[in-house]
Symmetry: C2
């Protein structure tokens, strides 16, 4: 088996071949006791003592969800893992394992693949998950098809459909960071930023979902929850739609970090667009019954009311709401 | 929600938008009682009373795993579902549900997507599975990232690693059909074939894995099992390697249907290459202890011996063994 450190940039995935590449990937994977059958068979077998399994899948396409000139291979691995693991946490579950489908050009350096897997493993470590298996094949560009599986540990899943008028709306994690970082990258400023602003670019490259906040919200009695992947307003709109309620945010209660307002000033942008409509930070947004003490990491940002849609300080917002993959102009699209 | 029959070929996925397309797909999906949470939330939740879940994923890339001029959308859906569901069956498990990731160009007719999902649902019906959720996004070509989940129903998984010298080698399902069909398509003969030969092309477009043969083999005591996706010799080689044994096939006992020898004669090809090295029919190959009566649908095709590798009638074979995704010339590659 070839190890990452033995590979120079000139060794391609075609040099290793499909089975050589799979063996090199498998050599990176630590053992996981929750796997009855790990990588290398027709399918993996994961223990889910709960008798239910939480499952979600996402595709990432080079040039749309990531750019190789803007993100290193480990960044891509972190991001691909994070966006799927966050979906599991958004059900109130604990992420347990990933399946990793990789399509790539035959001339891609094998090193890129192994470093990407390294990033995935690092993010899996943050979330308490492993890699159970996958598939590799050839394609004209790099595409990842990631599936995350998770465990409810006896709790009921927190869907989008349980919010009730009177509930509090709360947020765990950050919004606007990835969008601000993407704006800085798009402006060509990534190489000249102060450490403070560079954190925004890092946030775009490596989202940091608050995984533990998902199960914590479920334990605290959250009535609905969603992963903020497409923008806070749009994703809360999914809760409003599924629950048949109106969500009213107080913009003053949504945290806005100093680097975000600095970047907005630098670029002449509106930080509210980033914070309210920027995706890809993979914060969690949830609703809790009135009076429920919010668990650690959660802050109140609004109220559930009778009605429909999402309001900001009682009014409809006219700016961007979020993201639609088939309708956005341009090539570089997020999650 | 837009329904498939309301769409003409001029309505694109961009016309529907990401969320319109998702709603149109969801409208096609029948209810599944095994889903605690079905499509439309951050993740699906599947009941797996066994306390373990079988999980496998595959990518299919347009131009490599399928061609839109050679396969209709329903064919692509059948094939994408079949190759994943077969991996679950190859563990001795029953397929339960699919997650479907779809990346496609914004100008793809939405009708194509809904017909593709229709093919997937038809194949899920054959296997006793459903569609639990997925992801849609934009890309330059069509790519599918499919994950199948399955249930062991209290049995141990049948891995590749349990074959013992003295075991019988057995086959369920067919081999060589898809490879022969692909050869006919490549020769440009698809439109002029007799019904008998046209069946080979149908087999390439719509593989028919013997799903029930997987759990039946597990119940009968199979010691190792594999899905034949890359070619009988290559995939039996995985059992030989993982089990540390030699597998010796008797070619006379491997079924060769009349259309296959007819097509080989027509094209001047060697049918043995198709039957021994052709992939994508998703037959199941397994080993059983000597003397075990084989379950329905399984036929004996060889013996497990001490040693390594795969032999045909006691000798190494010099022809093609199977498929490597990164090393094959040309653009059209199978599974």
């Amino acid at each position: 088996v070839v190890r990452a450190e033995q590979l120079g940039a000139h060794i391609t995935v075609a040099d290793l071949g499909e089975f050589g590449l799979i063996a090199a990937i498998q050599a990176l994977l630590p053992a996981d006791e929750a796997l009855v059958v790990g990588p290398g068979d027709d399918a993996a077998v994961l223990q889910v003592p709960d008798g239910r399994v939480v499952a979600t899948t996402d595709l990432l396409v080079e040039g749309r969800h990531f750019r190789r000139d803007w993100s290193g291979p480990a960044d891509v691995g972190v991001k691909a893992a994070a966006q799927n693991l966050a979906d599991v946490a958004a059900m109130g579950a604990s992420p347990r394992t990933l399946l990793v489908g990789l399509a790539c050009p035959p001339d891609l350096p094998a090193e890129w693949v192994l470093q990407m897997i390294g990033g995935m493993l690092a993010e899996c470590g943050r979330a308490g998950a492993s890699i159970a298996g996958g598939d590799v094949t050839a394609a004209g560009c790099i595409m990842l098809g990631i599936t995350a599986l998770g465990d409810l540990a006896g709790r009921g899943p927190v869907t989008r459909a349980g919010a009730q008028p009177g509930d509090q709306v709360a947020l765990a994690g950050r919004t606007g960071w990835s969008a601000a970082g993407l704006a800085l990258l798009t402006a060509g400023l990534a190489g000249v930023l102060s450490p403070e602003l560079a954190e925004l670019v890092t946030a775009h490259r490596r989202p940091q979902p608050p995984y533990l906040a998902g199960p914590a919200a479920a334990i605290a009695g959250a009535t609905a929850m969603v992963d903020v992947s497409d923008g806070l307003l749009q994703d809360l709109g999914h809760i409003a739609g599924a629950s048949g309620v109106c969500i009213d945010l107080r913009i003053a209660s949504i945290p806005v970090a100093a680097p975000i307002t600095m970047a907005a000033e630098l670029l002449g942008a509106n930080w509210r667009d980033w914070v309210l409509a920027g995706g890809e930070d993979h914060a969690l947004a949830a609703t809790f019954p009135a009076g429920t003490p919010l668990p650690e990491g959660w802050i109140a940002i609004g109220q559930v009311r009778a009605g429909s849609g999402v309001l900001v300080d009682g009014a409809s917002r006219s700016g961007p709401l979020g993201w639609d993959h088939f309708r956005e102009p341009g090539n570089y699209q997020h999650n």
